[in-house]
Symmetry: C2
Subunit: 342 residues, 2 copies
DNA sequence: TTTTTTTATGCAGACGTTTGCGGTATCGAT
DNA sequence: ATCGATACCGCAAACGTCTGCATAAAAAAA
């Protein structure tokens, strides 16, 4: 698409000076007379001149663009993260190129490649559930390329990570259920290869133990999908087969929690009287369902914003990655609603 | 960031041939001996050569990138649209650069500019609520630059638009309420400068008239924000002040519908017995709240996918924009749930 | 052998910028 | 009059790729 945008050369030709002069005049370099500067700037304005970002990228080997790799766009938490990313990137003059992996490592790899081909300045990534081997990131990290991991972080050395405090979120949620008198708490867990799921699991477990309740691994059921359908099926199954009926569910995410709630209602149980339920992520619908769902809020926007600030500081070498090698951890907040208060 | 990626020049030097030869060999141009091609390709493979997309963009005046301008990322409908866009773009070898305007026209304009500076191949836009003047798009359209509008479409000539059939969605929703015996139906409308809001309003109005009910403009209340809070406040106000109490709400969006539902419950009314409610967009929570909320489903993913297919066909000149000047309209579907069935 | 054709490659310039290094006036000082 | 300074400005190369044109060598035709 040729849009015949005015270039520095056009201005130079018109004014009978060289492109170097125009370039310098536009940027107020020393050694250009005020008169020339004035004329150049006037004409540039008049011709609606805008620097060609592509040419700049080629020249400078950088693009003022960051890449975002995310499992799924249609996910409340991630969409808030994206929003935070976009906000900070925009305000600092960067563009955002976005890809979703749909949880497939093949797409993750090819996206990284494409981004590198485009001289991207840095990337923000929350990897796919399939990703267990991190060579495609390790390569870049070794060369000092700026990468910030958020939410889902890898198990390798020297990475810069931004996470929410999943552990204490889960701990608080479980503690809250215990304080409300629930004793037989099932944990609907996430995929066990994800650190966030591990942390939440650990929070659940420690809270139980700290309150003198035996931890029973059979009461931890993995929900790999994290959909309400899955949560519903699994919960129904649990209610049908467990010899001892649970009196509470702490779910790895809100969708699963809703599924559990629906299954419990369908089984004729009352929430919160018979069953307490707490979810994770604080999706918008938590305050809209009946009973309203208690949930652990993750600061998605803040996570996106923080990760981006850090990434751009690395890109611009305002800071070095050593300063961030301990994961940056953002506070979670347990929002107690009706589903867990009897 | 210098990542010393191998370039065509490196290959050329190593093999003692010119860069032209390497370039041609890699692309199987005629006039290169099989022997040379083999050697070039082998070395390219070995050196992990990847063409520099930026250099290509500069050379070809195009970037294999499309821009997406959207009011808000954190919005269920838009996130599904983005997903559809990303999916199609990826499969056709394009990158997506994303910006949200937060409903501000200033950001919309600056984003368009930035994208143009980056030799973007085309843009997909759903403009902000503030946007009433379309010069920043008109300019580009006049030069034949590919733009596809989706969801929110402008009131100017010769644009390519992808919309959902808001009119019949609203018509069906209203008809459904009437068939259920509701008679005093309030419409919680959207911002009247948005065509989608106008269309939904028109569907509501025509359905009433076709069923012999007088249309009363006072029963149409504008919700500019489209949040549940706003819906709740406005509904409470309506219940308090209207001399004749409504028996149903048809809302321009689900958030407002939920607000209405909460306000009605708070006022001691039963849904659906005393009040029928239908929303618009079919957010995920519709099936999770109590009672489940009837809503008009918009095919967001499909809209994103369709708009992108069309845009890329324009970019690649497989089709001309004349072929799409009538808006492409995607079907909506009324999903009847409990909130509107007595 | 000479000429023509074919085959295989290289040169150079372009895309739009930036920037190190020189170059040419101009001017004041010697 | 000569010499340095100083102030302005241009040349050219570079970023990595593509491509029209020329060219050289080899093969085929005369």
């Amino acid at each position: 698409m040729k849009l015949e945008q005015a270039t520095i050369k056009d201005i130079a030709r018109e004014l009978n000076v060289s492109s170097s002069t125009v370039s310098r005049a536009l940027k107020d370099y020393p050694g250009i007379s005020d008169e020339t500067k004035r004329k150049v700037k006037e004409l540039a304005e008049k011709m609606n001149y805008r620097p060609n970002a592509i040419a700049l990228s080629l020249r400078k080997s950088r693009s003022f663009t960051i890449g975002v790799i995310i499992p799924e766009v249609v996910h409340f938490f991630f969409s808030t993260v994206i929003s935070g990313i976009e906000e900070v990137a925009y305000s600092r003059g960067y563009k955002v190129i976005l890809t979703q992996t749909n949880e497939m490592i093949a797409r993750e790899k090819s996206s990284v490649q494409t981004m590198m081909d485009n001289q991207i300045d840095g990337i923000l990534v929350s990897f796919s559930k399939e990703t267990t081997d991190f060579d495609h990131f390790k390569n870049l990290l070794d060369k000092g390329f700026p990468i910030v991991f958020f939410d889902r972080i890898p198990n390798i050395e020297n990475t810069v990570n931004v996470v929410v405090d999943d552990y204490s979120g889960a701990y608080e949620a479980t503690k809250h259920l215990l304080q409300q008198g629930y004793r037989r708490i099932v944990h609907l867990a996430g995929p066990s290869n994800l650190k966030i799921a591990q942390e939440r699991h650990r929070g659940y477990r420690n809270a139980l133990q700290d309150h003198g309740i035996d931890y029973n691994p059979q009461w931890v059921v993995e929900c790999t999908q994290g959909t309400d359908d899955e949560g519903q099926k699994i919960t129904a199954e649990i209610l049908r087969t467990f010899s001892e009926t649970p009196d509470a569910f702490f779910a790895n995410n809100d969708m699963a929690a809703v599924g559990a709630m629906l299954a419990c209602k369908a089984a004729g149980m009352r929430v919160p009287e018979d069953i307490g339920i707490v979810g994770f992520s604080n999706w918008q619908f938590c305050s809209m369902i009946d009973p309203t769902l208690s949930s652990v809020a993750q600061p998605g926007f803040k996570m996106g914003a923080t990760a981006t600030e850090i990434l751009l500081d690395l890109v611009e070498k305002k800071k070095s990655s050593e300063e961030f090698l301990d994961s940056v951890m953002l506070d979670t907040e347990l929002l107690v609603r009706k589903s867990s208060v009897r």
